[in-house]
């Protein structure tokens, strides 16, 4: 058994201390094997804002990796050696190479590809993608090698015990809504010949709310749920500390929607054929003493 926790959209400046409350609970009560931060160190991913994030994490990022968000990419630089990168994000995680954190930087690659990686844990593969600069262009920003890398990551281990984690989600409900620009990425998660899904679910943030979708098909995922054999679950949890977005736009989730509470997604990787996922609800006013409850209809069991 290995427990993985996801929080997103709650670190940096001008966001209060919810992210500290959540991560302290995870460390104290959650027995984490890995903590994933889904991105956005506010306001602009500056080095000083990453320092605030480090303080919010109590100076310890040894269990943490971060899929960069659009706010991380607001402070960016370009060089011949690196391509365009989020410079505050790069410098911060370069200070904490594994094992000081779980976030690697591949200095042989350029742009967001430098931060894409996977972690194999208890028979499952967690694939981390960088969709942070989505407002400047859709993933993979013209870099075909990233598509090839993703296909290899999805197919070099057998079965569907794979999770794709990024800041943006193909489907989402909130102020932002669906990201049609991610359709190429979404379609890459299916076998190009048979159309069979290659992953169990995707997990993202960006909208500061919780949206849980049943399995969605390769074509027109907003159209509705299909059997798991033909679709991939879509989970969104951006309720990690920086307020809430209401369900203004985007595909209505068929399993659950929440725009009132601060939440952590818990993934229990039991073995290579089994995992449970649920969403821990810390309420609208989390305190250091808060014990979360499981959000209604948020528990999903994967059995292959």
């Amino acid at each position: 058994m290995a427990l993985v926790y996801w929080t997103s959209d709650g670190g940096g400046s001008g966001v209060g201390d919810i992210s500290s409350v959540l991560v302290r609970w995870i460390r104290t009560n959650g027995n984490p094997a890995l903590i994933v931060n889904g991105g956005d160190i506010y306001d602009r991913g500056k080095p000083t804002e990453f320092d605030e994030f480090l303080n919010q994490m109590d100076g310890d990022v040894s269990m943490i990796c971060e899929t960069s968000g659009n706010h991380d990419w607001k402070t960016r630089e370009r060089s011949v050696a690196t391509g365009e990168i989020p410079i505050g994000y790069e410098r911060f995680w370069a200070r904490f190479p594994p094992p000081l954190s779980r976030q690697p930087i591949d200095a042989t690659r350029k742009g967001g590809a430098r931060y894409e990686h996977y972690i194999d844990l208890n028979g499952w593969r967690l694939i981390f993608l960088d969709t942070g600069p989505l407002e400047f262009g859709p993933w993979p920003l013209g870099d075909q090698s990233r598509v090839d890398w993703l296909r290899t990551a999805l197919t070099s281990a057998p079965g569907r015990a794979k999770i794709v984690l990024a800041h943006h989600s193909r489907l989402s409900r909130g102020r932002h809504g669906d990201n049609d620009e991610l359709d190429e990425l979404w379609r890459t998660l299916f076998d190009p010949v048979t159309g069979a899904p290659l992953a169990a679910f995707t997990l993202a943030g960006h909208d500061h709310s919780v949206s849980l979708y049943g399995p969605r098909p390769k074509d027109n995922p907003a159209s509705g749920t299909v059997p798991f054999e033909r679709g991939i679950h879509v989970f969104v949890n951006g309720a990690g500390g920086s307020g809430h977005y209401t369900g203004w736009r985007g595909t209505q989730p068929d399993l659950h929607f929440d725009d009132d509470n601060y939440c952590v997604t818990r993934i229990n990787l039991i073995d290579a054929r089994t995992a449970d996922v649920d969403v821990l609800n810390f309420g609208a006013v989390p305190r250091p003493t808060t014990q979360p409850t499981v959000l209604p209809n948020s528990t999903l069991r994967f059995r292959f």
Binding site: G14, V15, G16, D43, R175, Y245, V285
Partner: protein, 85 residues
């Protein structure tokens, strides 16, 4: 004319509301401790073409929201609100 209102609720948290052409109000975001994120959101919605003709209206701050330890236990999602109201 559509308007995007960035205002404070009764607890001091910041919220974002959309006023439609007919005057109806919709809450888009709530419980932010600082207005800067919502001001940025509102301007992005205009500049990126989601609400290209909307006007952004921001209330001056009236009170500061403290750290979570001092947050009101009875917080509830607020009603949408116009700036200056």
């Amino acid at each position: 004319m559509k308007k995007l209102h960035v205002t404070q609720d009764d607890y001091g948290f910041w919220e974002l509301s959309l006023e439609d052409d007919d005057g109806s109000l919709t809450l888009l975001a709530h419980q932010f401790v600082d207005p800067s994120h919502l001001i940025q959101d509102a301007h992005e919605m205009v500049l990126q073409g989601e609400l290209p003709d909307a006007v952004v209206v921001v209330d001056p701050p009236r009170r500061q929201v403290h750290r979570t330890g001092a947050w009101p236990a009875d917080y509830r999602k607020p009603a949408p609100k116009k700036a200056g109201a």
